[in-house]
Symmetry: C2
Subunit: 195 residues, 2 copies
Amino acid sequence: MGRGAETRATILDEALELTSQLGLEGLSIGVLAKRTGMSKSGLYAHFESKEGLQCDVLQEAADRWAELVLRPALKEPRGLPRVRAIFERWMAWDTEAFGGGCPFMAAATDFDDREGPVRDAVVRHVRDALATLSRAVQLAVDEGHLRADASVEQVTFEIWGTLTGFQQYSRLLAHDGARDRAQRAFDALVDRYRA
Amino acid sequence: MGRGAETRATILDEALELTSQLGLEGLSIGVLAKRTGMSKSGLYAHFESKEGLQCDVLQEAADRWAELVLRPALKEPRGLPRVRAIFERWMAWDTEAFGGGCPFMAAATDFDDREGPVRDAVVRHVRDALATLSRAVQLAVDEGHLRADASVEQVTFEIWGTLTGFQQYSRLLAHDGARDRAQRAFDALVDRYRA
């Protein structure tokens, strides 16, 4: 990594943690300047605008998700083991990867009602993650682990609901039993669709 | 309603809609002054601080939830009909009650990592709503509609997960089939626990 790229990576690290904690709306060149001790003009050399910075942060978050959730899960055998690995690593992503939880969820409520490139980026990344989950579920049907008549889209929705419910229980409500509740819900879901 | 109370109600209406769309962090006396055409000093006569305003908005949201979700559901017979009514009205709350979705969820991601009275208020209101749902589920067990060995807390978590998943599908992803997916998930959940 060149020095410019290294500086950029350091800034994105900080920006990602800020987004996780305060949401994407709170992320600006000014706030980031304070946190990194860099000048605003120094930051503008790396990110052309607030929106550009926000989109870059989302791309960085997507790359991390691929690295922390998807890549290790792809080492599991296709079918149920892989779906389970995605689910469990996604729970860890929601609770352990950042100080303030999933950056996409932090961004989602801020931007779900606004038009523009940032909202488009949030939606695209979340859709990509759900498409990845959906493909893993489809493989579990193809492998004969889940019933042939299971609706892949319905299973995907139910796993996603379990993850979003888990995130609220663990982060917002600081519920001790969040992981256990979510794991039980996932297991029951799998049992219901098992071939 | 006296004139002061009426003005306050008008301001809270606007503040609630703003929160729904932009999140609670974006809500300030200054922003609200612009939206209502009132002076900042006029607003300070009704709300002593930004935090005070935010807490009042959350209380107003809780009152609306009670009015739009809980009160009509309490007219349904105790047991499954009431649980179903809460679920269905909660989906409507997430999508129809405000321009930008549930104000609590808009507030949650902004405040889930911060200490203070606003976070405490968000958590208290969400816990209250979940306790209400949980009591309805308990009554469904007591009435013999759900299995006696069903874990009330687990059922509550799973309904909540369905609602949070629904919210993301419908608001963020603008998914056409969100309501249908959520309704199917709820029906399957009820079937699984049915006595």
